[in-house]
Amino acid sequence: MVTQDAVHPPAIRTQGLRKVYPLPRARRAAAASLPGAQIDGAAPEPAVAPAITPDGIVALDRLDLEVAAGEFFGLLGPNGAGKTTTLGILTTRVRPTAGQAWVGGTDVVRQDVAVRHLIGVVPQRPNPDRSLSVLQNLIFHAAYFGVPKATAKARASELLETFELADRADSQVEKLSGGQQQRMMIARALMHDPEVMFLDEPTGGLDPQARLALWEILRDLHAQGRTIVLTTHYMEEADRLCERVAIIDRGRLLALDTPAALKAQAPGGTLIELTLDGDASAAAEGAGAIAGVVRVEAQGPVLRAWSPRAGEVVAGLIRAAEQAGRQVRDIHLAQPSLETLFISLTGRKLE
């Protein structure tokens, strides 16, 4: 029995969490190619290949996390990074291959039923009960959690009011817009008044206006004292909403801190990215010698340089490329952000 901080256990703790999905039989032999594997259930859709080993696809590799009660926490990473798998394990829907995880001090594997009382889950793709009306979705959800009927009714009408769905209470779910469905999913997850809300890329398919509205809802939930865990591959979302952000990629935790502290970790200020007409490695040598450039990286035809004085070094970078016999096709500047940090950590873009 693990009793960590018995008085106020952290909302979430994971220890050496690892998840390996078995390779589909056909791929087990040739485990070198990218996995376009369709895995059932809460598994991610790997756009970027997670590590493939003879054991299978490593979706999560010894993840250690701790989220304080009442915290607004973000998991930031590209598709296939392991965010959905992490959420799947924490919400009792995916069994870890190794390691342990607790929600509110309760083990998610051994006491999964108890954990389900504590959590509200909003999945990546809205999966409302389409055989029921909006109101029935909420009422039945409450019934699954043993909420007394009168309480459920009162709470449902309150939530529908808050989420501007009151006039849609008796609608079939199909008739709702994407944003309305997403709000209904959040309202439904709140029906049993959970301590911890998990939202998997909640703003994914939403237009900018609906996204802003959803951000407001999430801020309100947080203000009520709930712990919120959000996955996203929009750095702006993580930056604007979360108190702390974990950057994960290929199942590993790369960085964990407040957005401000993370941005401060981004190397040497502005990122200057030059796309050349050929391999950039020769140009990188010359670029590294330019005063004011703190870091240089070549990746295929892309030359990346970091500098606190971007304006002064751009001309030098172009010259360095030309001296290496390359033409510059494109230049892109990016302010220090979670995005530039992510690129410096992984050599890849987030979105």
């Binding site: 259930g41 701790e66 829907r93 009382h117 889950v121 793709r125 409302p128 029921l132 959690f145």
Partner: protein
């Protein structure tokens, strides 16, 4: 804790969540299915009884009228028709929603997140299938009797046995529905019906008694793997006991073993597909 950026723990928002009994959750899940089923009851009954009743009209009404079939055939047909209706409404009642839920819609996710062990979610689906099958069977029985007119040797004096065979047969086909619904993918449903369901009906002793197949012993013994054989024969034993039929104890033993087997296999695939 020295993890970067770890914050002070705030006290929890309020007292820990209350618990709810598994039975209460199970009841709520059943009530959900009942709510949906009640709305869809007419469509459901038409879907699962239309074909058997057309069969009854042709072979139990028209052909005896044309003297192409002996009237006594109705006594063989009625229990079989009840068996077919029971079997396939139970099977469909579990398998079809399961294929959709585990495949594209993932609608079952909210029930898998309910505070109840996952195997109980599967059991609830089976119980819902049993109820649907039983309703369909007891709907078709009087209607078929009306279409065919008076049926020689039909007796309603073994009500308990009729109910027992009905419930057990429904359980067999609901658990089979769980197995097929978790194994078969959306694209394969058509194939499932033509490759599994259709032969099961034709070789399920619904339209002829099992003992009469002694003419071709190979087929007679091969069909014993077909659970519909026991449902049809069990219905004969309970509804027309004076006609040729398998013994009720054989029927009950076979259906019990098959229910256990299908439940075990179906639960395994259900858990594999619902828990990552």
């Amino acid at each position: 804790m020295s993890a970067p950026g770890t914050r002070e723990h705030r006290p929890p928002r309020r007292a820990p969540a209350r618990r709810v009994s598994a039975a209460a959750v199970f009841g709520a899940l059943l009530l959900r299915d009942a709510t949906v089923a009640r709305r869809e009851l007419p469509a459901f009954l038409v879907r699962v009884t239309f074909q058997p009743l057309m069969f009854v009209t042709v072979f139990g009404y028209l052909m005896p009228l044309m003297s192409l079939m002996d009237r006594s055939y109705t006594a063989t047909l009625l229990p079989g028709i009840m068996g077919v209706t029971l079997a396939f409404s139970s099977l469909q009642g579990v398998a079809l929603p399961m294929v959709a839920d585990l495949g594209y819609t993932r609608e079952i996710e909210d029930r898998l997140l309910a505070p109840i062990p996952t195997w109980l979610v599967a059991l609830q689906k089976v119980v819902a299938g049993v109820i649907q099958g039983t309703i369909a069977a007891f709907f078709v029985l009087p209607v078929a009797r009306l279409i065919m007119g008076p049926i020689p040797n039909l007796t309603m004096s073994h009500g308990g046995e009729v109910l027992a065979v009905t419930l057990l047969g429904a359980a067999t086909f609901s658990t089979l529905g769980l197995l097929l619904g978790t194994v078969v993918s959306g694209q394969q449903i058509g194939l499932m019906f033509s490759m599994i369901v259709a032969p099961m009906i034709m070789f399920g002793c619904a339209y002829y008694p099992w003992k009469m197949m002694f003419h071709v012993p190979v087929i007679q013994y091969a069909v014993l793997i077909n659970p519909l054989v026991y449902v049809s024969e069990g219905m004969r034993a309970a509804l027309t006991p004076d006609m040729l039929h398998m013994s009720l104890s054989t029927v009950i033993a076979a259906l019990t073993v098959m229910t256990g087997l299908f439940w075990w296999l179906g639960l395994r695939t259900f858990l594999r597909r619902s828990v990552g």
